[in-house]
Symmetry: C2
Subunit: 691 residues, 2 copies
């Protein structure tokens, strides 16, 4: 699945010297018009681009989507709404199992944690950022950059931070800074989700594989002031959906790529970061698997986390394979040498950029030393629990809101608070026994990775065992109640200081250590890498010009490709599957069991309807739920996955093998109509086309 993986994003810029051929995640303000015209006979002009930009959406939690009707209907993946479906479920009503259909608008239920962003405007703010950071290094650079970003974002959002979201985005590794202004929708309601069995047919075994037979879709509706939003721009469904060889455009929010990391950064990823995180995920997977299998109730509670864990595991496993491929490293070494030779060939260039790679390597050496502590103490890998997450938001929120905006941790600046409080005040249930298991386990990892005699570990555990500590904290906390969290948030620093909630006490104790390692990371690693990556990026511009795309940053990108199979070790893989194929592949056993609704509808279904398909579009995690459109800006499909070769796409794009996997738009309509009897929704979608 193409959910944005949880691996720490490393900002990176990308340049490609290869010919255009599906490769590239292009910003809306820099589309490769000439290449698209040459390849597909179509020019994405400004009007077309703006319409597409504003029809597409971002799910702030890590996915993409789009408006598909003038009445605020939103199409995305089931696996992007899965946690909402789980949060709305109870032991009595399990929508994961049964699916969900709101017969009418009034039956739609609000998702407690989904925020939608529509990108309204991009402004270049490079000069302003450069002026603010000029001549600075280390902590001073880091502070100056943070301050100017926060100033720009605050200015942009103005008093409308509830509905306006502004992010300063560093593109091309600091080659360009852009201000992205979004319209923010927080009242987002669930209209339709199929059964998990249909959405995720084939389960983890089929994930990142093809042929595929998944109805990985969900429909949401955006509301404002209690009424459905009426977007000016939206994508109607096309009449027939994707055809072989047809040009397809995917508009979405790829989460991150590492196509232009330096060799020293890639080595760190290969030798430390990816393996460490994979091992963490593998063990968590085993733990959650057994927890889930204990009862039907545990299955419902843990399935969403287990899905996320298995998905990230597979993504990272694929990346590790790519990093271990000598051919990939050879390519990276060659590219780096080419650029460094270019830099060194001219004394002025050498003076300006020559040291950047070594400076990055030095920062990487520091990162290698503090990475574990940063991951476990600051990034929360050692405190795997919703309660802790809430407690930390409350403790930090109280401290940070007392400071001027420019001096706050970046996720607590005014422009970031609406998204944060949406999660903090979420009505999603928290399950005490589950939290005890997760937290107890992750505390054992904290102890294992940092060591029993580590002062921080001793401070956290005292004389308790991880499991006993987890049990005590969970038994004593009241943070499961949203009203309690709201009161602590509103009470501010005073309320936090006075609280004796055991998770608040823990988060308070941890905070000084977490901030210390974060400061070291920001000042000695991140700022050095940012600053020197900017130099590398500028040198790259000097050599290759601007006909390039930046590495993915979970901001809107256009990818141009076409519907095409591939050759798998001599065996051609066809681009389409059919609905009939799903019945052929069903064994009746999880995860290859079709839901009863499908079995009941089999005789009425168009079994030849195209179901899933592949295309050459260049996508990555975060693109999940992106619309696949044709040149008329009509929906022809819905991206939900990539093939196994696409996992190496984090580091390079291989046109021969790398494929995006989508649900065909015709299958979406056929299923809604014939299986789910979602007549009102079908009518709405069909009407949108006819307008």
């Amino acid at each position: 699945m193409n959910r944005k993986p949880a691996l720490t994003l490393i900002l990176a810029a990308t340049v490609s010297t290869a010919a255009f051929a599906g490769e590239g995640m292009w910003t809306p303000d820099n589309l490769p018009k000439a290449q698209v015209q040459q390849q597909y006979g179509f020019t994405p002009d400004a009007k077309w681009a703006e319409h597409v930009q504003k029809s597409a959406l971002r799910l702030a939690g890590g996915c993409s989507g789009s408006f598909v009707s003038p009445n605020g209907l939103v199409l995305t993946n089931h696996h992007c709404v899965n946690s909402c479906v789980q949060q709305l479920s109870t032991a009595e009503k399990d929508y994961i199992k049964s699916g969900f259909l709101a017969k009418e608008e009034k039956d739609e239920i609000r998702c407690p944690e989904i925020e939608l962003n529509r990108l309204d405007k991009i402004t270049d703010v490079t000069a302003r950022v450069r002026t603010a950071t000029e001549g600075k290094a280390g902590e001073a650079y880091s502070r100056a950059e943070k301050a100017i970003k926060s100033e720009i974002e605050k200015e942009c959002a103005g008093k409308d931070s509830a509905t306006t979201r502004c992010d300063v985005v560093s593109l091309y590794h600091g080659g360009v800074y852009s201000l992205y202004r979004y319209h923010r929708f927080q009242d987002v309601r669930l209209a339709f989700a199929p059964e998990l069995e249909a959405a995720f047919f084939g389960g983890d075994p089929d994930n990142f594989n093809f042929p595929r037979y998944d109805l990985d879709m969900g429909l949401l509706r955006a509301y404002e002031n209690g009424k459905p939003v009426k977007p000016k721009d939206f994508f109607p469904f096309s009449k027939n959906g994707a055809d072989e060889g047809e040009m397809t455009v995917i508009v979405g929010n790829p989460g991150g790529t590492d196509r232009q990391l330096t060799v020293s950064q890639l080595e760190l990823a290969r030798d430390e970061q990816v393996v460490s995180y994979l091992l963490f995920l593998a063990e968590r997977r085993g733990l959650l698997t057994q927890f889930r299998n204990e009862s039907a109730e545990h299955w419902r509670i843990a399935q969403s986390d287990l899905f996320g864990t298995e998905n990230s595991y597979k993504v990272l496993r694929g990346r590790l394979s790519a990093l271990q491929d000598p051919a990939v490293f050879d390519l990276k070494r060659r590219q780096e040498k080419e650029l460094r030779d270019f830099v060194d060939a001219d004394p002025a260039r050498k003076q300006k950029y020559g040291a950047a790679w070594d400076e990055i390597a030095k920062a990487v050496a520091v990162e290698r030393n503090i990475d574990d502590r940063h991951s476990y103490v600051e990034s929360g890998r050692g405190f795997y629990s919703r309660y802790y997450e809430y407690a930390r938001m409350l403790v930090r929120g109280a401290a940070e809101r007392g400071k001027p905006d420019a001096e706050r941790l970046r996720e607590y600046t005014d422009s970031k608070l609406p998204a944060l409080t949406q999660r903090l005040f979420s009505t999603a249930p928290v399950y005490a026994d589950y939290e005890t298991v997760k937290l107890g386990w992750s505390l054992t990892k904290l102890r294992e990775i940092l060591g029993t005699d580590d002062a921080f570990v001793k401070k956290v555990l005292g004389k308790e065992s991880p499991d006993a500590l987890a049990k005590r904290l969970v038994a004593g906390t009241r943070l499961g109640d949203p009203a309690v969290r709201k009161a602590l948030w509103d009470g501010g620093a005073d309320a936090i200081a006075k609280s004796d909630d055991p998770f608040i006490v823990l988060a308070r104790d941890v905070d000084v250590d977490a901030r210390a390692v974060r400061a070291r990371y920001e000042n000695e690693v991140e700022s050095v890498i940012d600053k020197n990556s900017e130099l590398v990026a500028t040198a790259r511009f000097e050599k290759y010009g601007t006909s390039v795309y930046p590495d993915a940053t979970f901001t809107q990108r256009f990818s141009f490709g076409d519907v095409r199979g591939w050759d798998e070790k001599g065996v051609p893989v066809k681009p389409f599957t059919t609905i009939g194929g799903a019945f052929g592949h069903a064994t009746g056993s999880y995860p290859f069991a079709l839901p009863q609704s499908w079995l009941d509808a089999q005789s009425r279904l168009n079994l030849n309807q195209r179901y899933n398909f592949v295309s050459t579009n260049d996508i990555i995690g975060g693109n999940s739920g992106s619309p696949v459109i044709n040149k008329n800006a009509e929906i022809v499909g819905l991206v939900f996955d990539g093939n196994i070769h696409s996992l190496g796409g984090n580091y390079w794009y291989d046109e021969r093998l790398n494929r995006a996997v989508s649900v065909h738009s015709g299958a979406i309509l056929e299923a809604l109509r014939t299986i789910y009897g979602a007549d009102a929704l079908v009518k709405e979608l069909e009407a949108a086309r006819k307008r």
Copy 2:
């Protein structure tokens, strides 16, 4: 813990060009006398060596031990008898928790699966093996080697295979073939084991760390004909135990090292084998952790497997770190180049040995392709269940026993059957719910690694889910009953063909595929590597002579070192801990809780008694339970672990950092006397010294 890890052993020969300094696992027939004399002023003469050789023991399951009294008392580690202690426990009597003490000999209980081997004789059979394999390659080589080994072993054991065990061992990567004749003891009874809390104080967090506070010991007694064995050779306990700077000799059975693999083999280990197995272990660890935490009963059932999993995980993690250290690979590349340059410098040598490295690299390329299938289908990683293990022994045993000895799979030759049937007829309980969990999970791994559409996977799963299949098989099997297994074994091929036990049916179905991948592995990988490694080894002999030691092969080795701390990043680590230190480090919480027996005895204990200590001896997994002796062949300690740096010892020995970790002999006596009131055992040990 230094248990022999389950990673496929790759036979390998070792040569060291470094000066002697603790490095080296020497065969009893080739001790480094001159170096030891020079370093320690002591010459290990033939009489001394024979006495030591025959006092020491091997635990066939993967550990070491030694006779410590004239009445057959055997000293080894708790973690080497842990699975026996677990097998003898029930929900009512949990010896893992309470410990075990036989007040008198008649109270000693037989361990269902422990076999002891005493090495009686080593004979060089190189010429005979060479003659048999000369001029052969591929499958023919493989068959010829197997046939001659089986012939030699059978000849050696004669009619006494119940008490005589004979193994042809390939040393120096095929540079030498030796016949090892052992006396075999299968009636082995548990005399004493402390509580797990004392034996494994610090648990996984402290494993492979130091300072350490573990009473990782157990006492067994060997019986023959219902009476205690009276060994001529045994090690009495020394008066005072190990002192700082004192020469220590460790005699045991290091399981395997990879110090002279070629660079292509090391790359395979680094990029594929170690990571794959680590990920498998990590997930299994998570699964078993949650299973264990479900109830006290599950804790007892799963703790031994979880311990083994965590131990192997840590070993492999350490190896991966070593493999990822550029310095280690640089060393290996330099060593390989040095030897290849030597070979290439002379036309005759080049003709004879020059192609060996490339031939190995070609076999490694094949191995890379079939390694997963070999691990999951043949080596059983995909069928993680005792029931399956039994079924497979029965199915294969029936088929193989019908063939001439020389044509059988090597583990079914006559000389191997006694060890095999001991495990097969074991009275250890099998827990159905636990087997269901393990098997269901491992079948999902089988499907994940080989792929859903793999023909073998389809054959195994049919239309069932892994969990449903596991449930059905476990519900239907009768193989939990040793009498049923005995009847099937005795019934031979006919009984197996007629059986409808679902595990027998499964094992029958799997066998053809498992044999196919095994044959490919043996003919295209193993035999090529064996043959060409022999050439590399011979070239190495030509260059470096015979003052070298072979890579470990789970056969008896002597290691010479001394009691010495080390410098840990500028901080000196002292060589000893004390019993008092254990109380200082106890938190009262698992795994840092001392058992009640210790708390009760605290005031009476000699808190200054040395407890654990480190020495420079070169050991590795399999050495667990090895005696640490002084020049008078008296016990001064008991090896149970290595420090974290010792994990890289699989690939190289670093005298500055690599340390063995042992229980001090004085602490063993103090604990038996003052904590456990094991008066008869203490008396027996003291009396042995005075003889």
